[in-house]
């Protein structure tokens, strides 16, 4: 199949860029053109890393290429980051498969429309369309920049889902939720997969630990990815500070760089944990497997959530590491160990062995304390959880499984019709951008119907 693939790609540092770079080679038997942002602030084709089996193209090339030789499927990898802004005009005009990585797009959309382009009227129109049940005045909170966490209340998903032939999501809870919220819009589950990190590790774990001065015998709790408040590391520090004496072996290794707006080091110093915490700074993707091998437990906490399925967490499962996750609604079907009762918490009563430890959000510090103590002090428990995690990954989250689900989704999207635009569709999203051309050609007495020309 001839496929147009809209996604950021490395060297752009985002999870979705890395995800596409890992996935696309698995689909190389298709003819894939990857369309990257060639706007002024983007690396464009020249600055984007080449991906095996894929032709990189600038986005502006898409319309004429599609008009002259239509793609069988157009895929949009959509997340709540402004690096996805560029695909919105195409997504609403060329319906395809929208892979919804975040079920919360409000922040990126508001940033794109309000902060970057000052299109507040367009923002208001999209807000009202997305949430017709909400008072339109609510939009003013965000126009004035006061929204904050309120954005999660109004996730602004309707435009991409209503404009898609098919929407895909990586967890079953989200699929059910979207199908319920948007009846008539097809939604399909595509399993999230990651490569096997055990096959990628090159450096012995002891060498990695020595590199960062981690003492021998330490039980290393690792956190991976950009050091943002969402990873709840400050909560981990609070818990660690309370049990530091009880678990002298516990050491926190934070693998990632901290942004300027979050001074994680200040939190470490304030709690007197300098000797118990190591922050590596940015680590290239190629080295992540080495660092994964060097930790005993992975911390994959996340709040707030856009209902995303974390590839970083799955990578930890794949590495056979016990993981500590936030007890989030959309992860309810993952068998998790409740350390207070040593029982399995899961929405599937028939679920078997636990594959991780879940931390309740409204009881997180006590549960983190317990996790630090139990996991640091019980190597057998770590071993059981790690082995179960690896089995869970093999059963649910390999690249082969993800590629298989993508094939099914691509087949389906290629046969589905374009959806009809619902009533109240924002006018600025209906504009096809040819008004100026039509004005000019009309003045020359040459009427030009772009839509008709494209269809024929």
């Amino acid at each position: 199949m001839r496929i147009a693939w809209f996604s950021p790609l490395p060297p752009h540092r985002s999870g979705i860029a890395a995800y596409s770079a890992e996935l696309l080679p698995r689909l190389r038997h298709h003819e894939i053109d990857a369309f990257v942002d060639d706007g002024a602030d983007a690396p464009g084709v020249a600055g984007t890393m080449s991906v095996a089996g894929v032709t990189l193209r600038g986005t502006y090339d898409f319309p004429w290429r599609h008009a002259t030789r239509p793609y069988g499927a157009v895929v949009y990898q959509l997340g709540n980051q402004t690096c996805h802004d560029y695909m919105w005009p195409y997504m609403v005009r060329y319906p395809g498969l929208v892979v919804l990585h975040d079920a919360q797009l409000h922040q990126a959309r508001a940033l794109g429309l309000l902060a970057r382009r000052r299109r507040s009227d367009d923002y208001r129109a999209e807000f009202s369309f997305s949430h017709p049940e909400a008072d339109p005045d609510i939009a003013e909170i965000f126009v004035s920049g006061l929204g904050g966490a309120l954005a999660y209340q109004w996730p602004m998903l309707r435009v991409p889902i209503a404009s898609a032939r098919l929407t895909a999501a990586h967890n079953t809870w989200l699929v059910r939720d979207l199908a319920g919220r948007f009846p008539g819009c097809p939604v399909q589950h595509v399993r999230m997969g990651t490569p096997d990190p055990l096959a990628q590790a090159r450096t012995p774990s002891i060498e990695v630990r020595r590199r960062h001065g981690i003492r021998e015998g330490a039980v290393v709790f690792g956190s991976f990815g950009r050091v943002t408040p969402e990873k709840q590391l400050t909560r981990v520090l609070l818990a660690l500070a309370e049990v530091a004496d009880a678990v002298p072996a516990a050491h926190l290794l934070v693998v990632g760089a901290a942004p300027t707006y979050f001074d994680f080091g200040a939190d470490v110093r304030a709690l007197g944990l300098e000797g118990r915490v190591t922050v590596t700074g940015y680590v290239p993707d190629a080295d992540l497997a080495d660092y994964l091998g060097a930790v005993d437990v992975c911390l994959n906490l996340r709040w707030p959530t856009g209902r995303e399925t974390s590839a970083a967490w799955i990578r930890c499962l794949a590495a056979g590491k016990p993981t500590v996750i936030s007890d989030l609604v959309h992860l309810g079907d993952v068998p998790a160990l409740d350390l207070r009762s040593m029982t399995v918490a899961c929405t599937d009563p028939t679920a078997g062995e636990p594959v991780c430890v879940a931390i309740e959000l409204n009881n997180d510090i006590p549960m983190l304390r317990l996790a630090l103590v139990d996991l640091a002090g019980n190597a057998a428990l770590r071993g059981r959880l790690g082995a179960a995690a690896r089995r869970y990954w093999a059963a649910h989250a390999t690249m082969d499984l993800m590629a298989h689900d993508y094939e099914a989704a691509l087949d389906r999207v290629s046969t589905l019709p374009d959806p009809a635009r619902p009533a109240g569709w924002p006018a600025h999203l209906a504009d096809d951008g040819t008004a100026t051309v039509q004005r000019i050609t009309a003045a020359m007495g040459v009427p030009f119907d772009w839509g008709r020309a494209e269809r024929t």
Binding site: L146, Y152, T305, D327, G332, A345, T347, E360
Partner: protein
């Protein structure tokens, strides 16, 4: 410095007092400064110009000797005798000439001096004029400067006030928006965090409840099967003897076990046999409402059986519901004990048969029905028959199938007295909680009691609305008590005429 906490009234008063005192001092100083602006003196005039009027004449006439003609002696010399004149003349003339010479020299010096000082006078006057002019202009500028200085000082207060106001307002707005945004974010986040934790827990509880339901259903089903087997064993020929034999086998005296009565199908409604079928059709036509009304009410049940098949409409009557189910593509058949009703259904092309409910159900294989609905039927069953009916129905329904039992609501006075006892074929009034309990006890789960047919508001007892807040207290109290009693009576007498128990076999 004060924004970290609220100011006390005393502190506010002190700040205001200090501010007003500073204002007063400032204004007094400004007024004094304004008044101290010096008045400009009249400028001095330059000296008069040098008087040069006679200077030309002086320059012409300064020479008095040399040109005087001889012989033109003064008149007084005439009276001198000529010889004498001749004798002194030379001497006089010499003396005179010398004097005139000296006078001319003096005149020359004097006129020359005057001529020289004219230029000095002129330049001195010009210098003085220039100096006075410069001084004047400088004084004018100084006066302007003074005025501007006072004006400037007059602007200081509004400038400082507005500048302070601007900065304070901007600062306040910034602080307010930052604080508001931060607070809003934190509160929202906290609520969402709590909500997320609750939802995560709830969905596990829901799953656990579902699991419990399944387990309970399984236990109930096992119990019911055991009960049925016991009943069958007891009903089998020789069972009593076997039981007795069993009892005899024990050490104690044999206990008689009733061998009959347990499995015997109780009569559905003792009166049914005695009422002529055609008369009951007529009764229904008179009191149950028109077919259109009944059809509208029955529409609410069609959704319950969406996607089902093999639905049995027990007490199908004239077949209104069967027709609705047929229209929606839901395969269904009817059963009625009344021959005329069945004939009415058949005449409409509907699948219906005549028979007793339990007898018919027992003739079906277990788990063969996809749904069962009995509208206004169970009140016709005697209690023992009803219990037996529910037991049998449970076994004949497939897992996942639903049962709907609609009946009159005897907990509503008007329903009981105006509807229930009106029909002579009603065997036993069923309170909603009683029927719900029987359904649960028969093994059904997800049991829901839906109240139907609300009594019209206009027909209920009405509130007393004349009393207002201006009315005497006693009257207000009386009206309030009256209205409370109206509410209680309405709740007892005029609530819902019907209800339905909807349940599922898991």
């Amino acid at each position: 410095m004060f924004f970290g906490r609220l100011l006390t009234p005393a502190e506010i008063a002190t700040l205001k007092e200090e501010r007003e005192a500073a204002d007063r001092r400032y204004n007094a100083a400004l007024t004094a400064l304004d008044q101290a602006i010096p008045k400009l003196p009249e400028s001095p005039h330059p000296p008069l110009a040098c008087d040069e009027q006679r200077l030309p004449e002086l320059n012409q006439r300064w020479q008095v000797a040399g040109d005087a003609p001889h012989g033109s002696m003064p008149r007084w010399t005439r009276w001198l005798s000529a010889p004498l004149w001749r004798l002194v003349r030379g001497r006089v003339e010499a003396e005179i000439h010398a004097a005139l010479q000296r006078q001319s020299a003096f005149n020359s010096i004097l006129v020359d001096h005057l001529n020289r000082n004219v230029a000095v006078h002129r330049s001195t006057r010009e210098a003085m004029e220039t100096t006075i002019s410069v001084l004047r202009s400088q004084l004018d500028l100084l006066a302007v400067f003074h005025s501007r200085l006072v004006e400037y000082l007059q602007q200081v207060t509004p400038y400082v006030d507005t500048k302070d106001r601007d900065e304070t307002l901007a600062g306040l707005l910034l602080g307010l928006s930052t604080g508001l945004s931060s607070g809003l974010h934190s509160i929202t986040d906290e609520f969402r965090r709590q909500l997320e934790a609750m939802q995560a827990r709830e969905q596990r509880y829901v799953a656990a409840v579902d699991e419990l339901r399944t387990s309970i259903g399984s236990v109930q089903q096992t119990g019911l099967m055991l009960k049925r087997e016991v009943e069958r064993l007891l009903a089998a020929p020789g069972a009593a003897g076997a039981a007795r034999a069993g009892g005899a086998a024990g050490s104690g005296p044999a206990t008689p076990v009733p061998a009959t009565g347990v499995t015997a199908v109780p009569s559905a409604a003792p009166m049914a046999d005695t009422v002529n079928a055609y008369k009951y059709v007529g009764f229904e036509n008179k009191f149950r409402g028109s077919e259109v009304d009944i059809r509208a009410r029955q529409m609410t049940y069609v959704d319950v059986f969406r996607g089902a098949s093999d639905v049995l409409d027990l007490g199908c009557g004239r077949g209104e519901l069967l027709a609705l189910l047929k229209e929606r593509g839901i395969p269904a058949r009817g059963l009625d004990i009344n021959h005329e009703m069945v004939e009415a259904c058949l005449s409409l092309g509907l699948d219906a048969r005549e028979g007793d409910a339990i007898a018919y159900l027992e003739s079906l294989p277990d788990a063969s029905l996809g749904g069962l609905i009995a509208l206004q039927v169970v009140e016709h069953f005697a209690p023992a028959y009803l219990v037996r009916f529910l037991d049998v129905a449970f076994h004949k329904l497939r897992p996942g199938a639903r049962i709907v039992l609609e009946t009159l609501n005897p907990s509503c006075w008007v329903a009981f007295f105006e509807a229930y006892i009106r029909d002579i074929t009603h065997a036993w009034p069923l309170h909603p909680e009683t029927l719900k309990y029987l359904v649960v006890a028969s093994g059904f789960q997800r049991v829901d009691v839906r109240m139907m047919s609300p009594y019209p508001e206009a027909a209920k007892l009405q509130h007393l609305s004349g009393a207002t807040q201006q009315s005497p207290l006693a009257l207000v109290g009386l009206a309030s008590t009256f209205n409370d009693n109206v509410n209680k009576l309405n709740a007892l007498m005029f609530s819902y005429l019907d209800y339905a128990v909807v349940a599922e076999r898991l």
